[in-house]
Symmetry: C2
Subunit: 301 residues, 2 copies
């Protein structure tokens, strides 16, 4: 597949998953006829129409390897995305990163208020597990229980939220490359890895058969964060739809401050090649996963 065809396929795949995720969130979030309306409107504001939907795409692309029903994969993808969206809402709060813009729009607490933002995040958090545990997710309760276990571990203290804590105290610490890597493996890597893992769970792949997928996910997770650090330094605020240059302002160590931009870029590319290498056992059915890996370092937002 040549590069133009590849980027066209990826762009189609992103367009398709974005539409599917928006449509499922829309169905899951009817606005109630009582004073919870404001809460659900805030959830919809945050969940519908924003974001690249990389995590749902990873679930779908992995599930496709094993012939999983697409609706099931989209549902599981929406659960991961609910967690991702809730974490952005809480992260943007004044007492956290204090960000006013996200995906080119005012953040939830700016559009609504801080209390509504806290609760909208909490409700999207709960909704992720409602989606996964619902019999509509899968007729197989073992699959449902495994999906919940995977996502709960990846999002809690030993995953995403633990990484956010390390990130919050980063201003006062002098992290070395080892610690920054660990922080990012938790903060960003855990949820990306869970997305791939959930695709494998839907495909009934036993844990011992998931090693190459784990390795792929670990490498793209790190590459993703290096690319994010580079975007924070070199990116365009308008394209990014959020404030940049924050790491420097806050005096945080990142892959770029620790390695320099050139070395970081080189490292990200090497990780992508390595990630793609882990997929060598697959044929063209893994092309979407390969494209996602390349996209992760080439994106401009």
């Amino acid at each position: 597949m040549d590069m133009t065809t590849e980027s066209q396929s990826l762009s189609d795949a992103l367009g398709q998953i974005q539409a599917e995720v928006d449509s499922l969130f829309d169905a899951l979030l009817p606005v109630p006829q009582d004073t919870r309306a404001r809460l659900v409107e805030a959830m919809r504001y945050a969940a519908i129409g924003g974001g690249k939907r990389i995590r749902p795409l990873l679930v779908v692309a992995t599930a496709e390897l094993y012939g999983v029903d697409r609706n099931q994969a989209v549902r599981a993808g929406c659960a991961v995305e609910s967690i991702h969206v809730y974490s952005l809402i809480h992260d943007d709060l004044p007492c956290m990163d204090d960000d006013d813009m996200r995906h080119g729009h005012p953040t939830v607490h700016k559009t609504y208020d801080d209390a509504t933002a806290v609760l909208a995040g909490d409700c999207l958090h709960a909704m992720a597990f409602e989606i996964l545990s619902d019999p509509d997710m899968s007729g197989d309760p073992f699959v449902r229980a495994q999906l919940v276990e995977c996502l709960a571990k990846a999002s809690g203290k030993d995953g995403m939220a633990g990484g956010q804590m390390m990130d919050i105290v980063a201003e006062d610490e002098d992290y070395d490359l080892h610690t920054v890597t660990r922080l990012q493996q938790l903060k960003t890597g855990a949820l990306l890895a869970a997305s791939v893992e959930m695709g494998a769970i839907l495909g009934h792949v036993p844990p011992e058969g998931r090693n190459h997928l784990h390795a792929y996910a670990r490498d793209i997770g790190l590459a993703f964060q290096i690319a994010d650090d580079l975007l924070d330094v070199e990116g365009d605020e308008e394209k990014a739809g959020k404030a940049l240059r924050k790491d420097e302002e806050q005096g945080k160590q990142t892959f770029v401050t620790l390695m320099g931009a050139d070395k970081a870029r080189e490292q990200a590319r090497a990780l992508v090649d390595q990630a793609i290498g882990h997929l060598s056992g697959y044929g063209p059915e893994a092309d979407l996963l390969r494209s996602i890996a390349r996209f992760i370092v080439e994106r401009d937002r």
Copy 2:
């Protein structure tokens, strides 16, 4: 059973569940050797050693009816309690109810900081679902998936957090008794009902066999909130371990403002009798559930 024996048994049962819940939280929350230590310390501060543990006791008391292994029931009880504790942490935040004291100690955001409190709440939220989906919870994945489904629904927008949203906007609304009842059924009732339901799920009781337990839970949920409203007006701040008289300050309608204290007290007692009536199909094995119902309106904190 005479009243003295009954209150002794209940007090023993409360003491036992408090020790078991503390011990399991202690085991689930080892402090990591990295900069997440502050996060896990905040989780421990909130989760260990405070609270009456009514929700875990309800899980255990219901599970006992069906001969469920006690360790399983305590584990499920800890999951409900994790949700309850996370909701208190977020509720106490300055942007929410802005409370400085809880269970007689400074609240999490006072002892740590707002960002740590947000994340500690988020991590306890995730931990609830980690506990329930872990194979240690039950060897039966259908039980695990059902427990998750029950707790996720009870805590999200159509349960506890939805009720909190209604409560937050209550200052600006003129709620009638119907709306206050609905608010409280969501805010407090949903999680109490889920506790009973989770005991029944552990006991492999099919949904159609849970009606009398549902009815019991609905009645004690409402009685619990009426008792809380009475405590807010008549209670002792020192015993309560938190600020009281807040509903009045904020101009919120409650059962007491809408019905008057005497009528509210009468209503709470009638609900308790009604709740106990729903247990008429059981013998002495349901005495603990009966004692809990009575305790709910007679407690002083």
